[in-house]
Symmetry: C2
Subunit: 348 residues, 2 copies
């Protein structure tokens, strides 16, 4: 069907080795004179030769393709924009380096090994890899390098590299901001469905630490709100006149839904309730009020992940086994001074 290197060689009256060298420039044990090279190129062109990458991949044992695993590909478009940026950031680096990016849909753990070990991928970026023993075992027996994004670095050293943001530090920025505005009773909110998400867990821990550090008092169970997906619990919670004047949401999207619920419950935002989100994307500009949020440097993180992965593929041992990026804080319109600071520092 397609014209092969052999046919080009025959037509040009040279060996396949010469054609390979000239057209693909690989190998250094073969030398071809300029005239011959030009001739070969001409023949190849006229025959409309297209190199077969699959054959080459088999031979050199490299595909220049890396996989990217999302745990929930199906809800990409309605999920946080965060994923998209991550995706773009990784893709940007890969494409610049002439790698392809292959999406691996949510796959059963059993299938992962066969997917990652079938020779089609040179490496993989794994988003939200969990820390359970099963995953660690998997990392261990995986024949290609892995970089995990937004996953907590495991306590035992592994072959994989972990890239994430400083979730605790990010939440501390949020608490700091709210406390500076005068808030004392602050709640932390997440969806029941996100219970297992490593980032959520880290942020909750950060919340406890920060509350202790910034207000001097420990957060209690009633300061932690675990609600359902679209936060139907809100109106009941608000009706019970909670002492809180601000809510920190574990994610951007959660904050968006909270704004929706609060608005439709008749609250005036941010006067009645200050709201902070996590992840500061374009999305935060489109909510009303615009969402104040912790910002993780997604593009830098994605670029670090991809760059490190490519280095590993090239056989260089990673410099670090984990990278943690500091967060920043973007103040927008969803936070303000509390209407009535319940636990003001200096009640006169």
């Amino acid at each position: 069907m397609a014209v092969t290197i052999r046919e080009v060689a025959k037509a040009a009256g040279v060996s396949t080795a010469a054609v390979s060298k000239v057209l693909h420039g690989r190998g250094n044990s073969v030398r071809v004179s300029d005239v011959r090279a030009a001739h070969i190129r001409e023949i190849a062109e006229s025959l409309n030769y297209r190199p077969n990458a699959v054959a080459r991949n088999l031979r050199i044992r490299r595909t220049h393709a890396v996989g990217i695993i999302f745990e929930n590909f199906g809800s990409f478009a309605n999920g946080p924009l965060y994923y998209m940026h991550l995706f773009e950031g990784v893709g940007g680096v890969l494409f610049k380096n002439h790698y392809r990016m292959t999406i691996l849909a949510e796959i059963a753990h059993d299938d992962v090994l066969s997917s990652l070990g079938d020779g089609q991928l040179d490496g993989v970026v794994w988003c939200k890899l969990t820390r359970d023993p099963e995953s660690l075992a998997l990392i261990h027996s995986c024949p290609i390098p892995i970089v995990a994004m937004n996953a907590p670095a495991p306590t035992v050293p592994t072959e994989a590299v972990f890239v994430s943001c400083d979730n605790e530090g990010g939440i501390d920025l949020a608490v700091q901001h709210l406390v500076a505005l005068g808030h004392r009773r602050i709640a932390f909110l997440y969806e029941r469905q996100e219970l297992d998400t490593p980032d959520r867990q880290a942020r909750l821990e950060g919340f406890h630490d920060a509350m202790k550090a910034r207000t001097g008092v420990d957060a209690t169970a009633e300061d932690v709100l675990e609600w359902d997906w679209l936060l139907p619990e809100f109106s009941g919670w608000w009706a019970a006149k909670p002492p809180h004047t601000a809510i920190i949401c574990w994610s951007e999207r959660t904050a968006g839904n909270l704004i929706l619920q609060a608005t439709s419950a008749g609250l005036s935002l941010p006067g009645d309730l200050s709201i902070v989100g996590f992840d500061s994307t374009q999305y935060c500009e489109t909510t009303t009020p615009r969402l104040t949020a912790v910002c993780q440097p997604i593009y830098e993180m994605a670029a670090a992940a991809a760059t490190t992965l490519l280095a590993m593929i090239d056989g260089m041992p990673p410099i670090q086994s984990s990278f943690t990026f500091p967060c920043t804080f973007d103040v927008r319109d969803s936070t303000t001074t509390p209407r009535s600071p319940l636990n003001a520092e200096n009640p006169s």
Copy 2:
């Protein structure tokens, strides 16, 4: 390095053909007894054998991977959500059929052929393929099947299949809606940067047709607004007291930016100006006011594209060379009756 089918065969005392048949179930000229099969499986397991897909791909000349080309991958996250849905829709079908999806970044036309003809892809979904002769030539010489999404079907028949929505019909729904509300002077808005986008062109044509049909008068040049990316022209335009009472935006994101500009210029929406977008995603729920918009059935379109492509890969000639899906209309809060219908039908 990795254990091959040959080593399994040797360890099990059988032929490679037997191993291949048992483990991968391919070929029908080979029969293996149950006991032998069980034994082979056992050996393979104990040797931790992993089939090499690259070798198999070379042999069977199939990769079970399809490519997806976006013209502007880099601005995915900040672009219209439309792309994401498309992406998910295509991916959903592919994954269900055990195909992989490979992202092809914006590539120079010269590179396209080498990318699509290198044997690594069984087919490709091409988003926003333009209709120029160059692209048509490319389609013609492309060795794998192509499905074009949201591209106008060319007038001359091609090997590719085209999937798009009825842009004209969609715009007509918008005009109908506005006219029913009492609007007579309606503008059509797009960004200068989108000049070449086929969808935009089709929608503008649809605008002209619909205005003629629904109001009886032709739209003029001043009814067509070609502004810069973030619509900085808005305030000047509005200050000049244009006769228009409504604007139809070529895209969802354009409409969002228009809302931002109008709001910051002090307009009260939708009272001062009715706004309609194109593409009705989650994004339309997050603007203030919520965006009334034409809705194209993206998931169905994506599914049709992917399904058709897979059929073509399997050698079945496509039933149709183009699929056009009807649009629907989602009324939200960004449209209302005009404050003062300038050209009311029956001025008393």
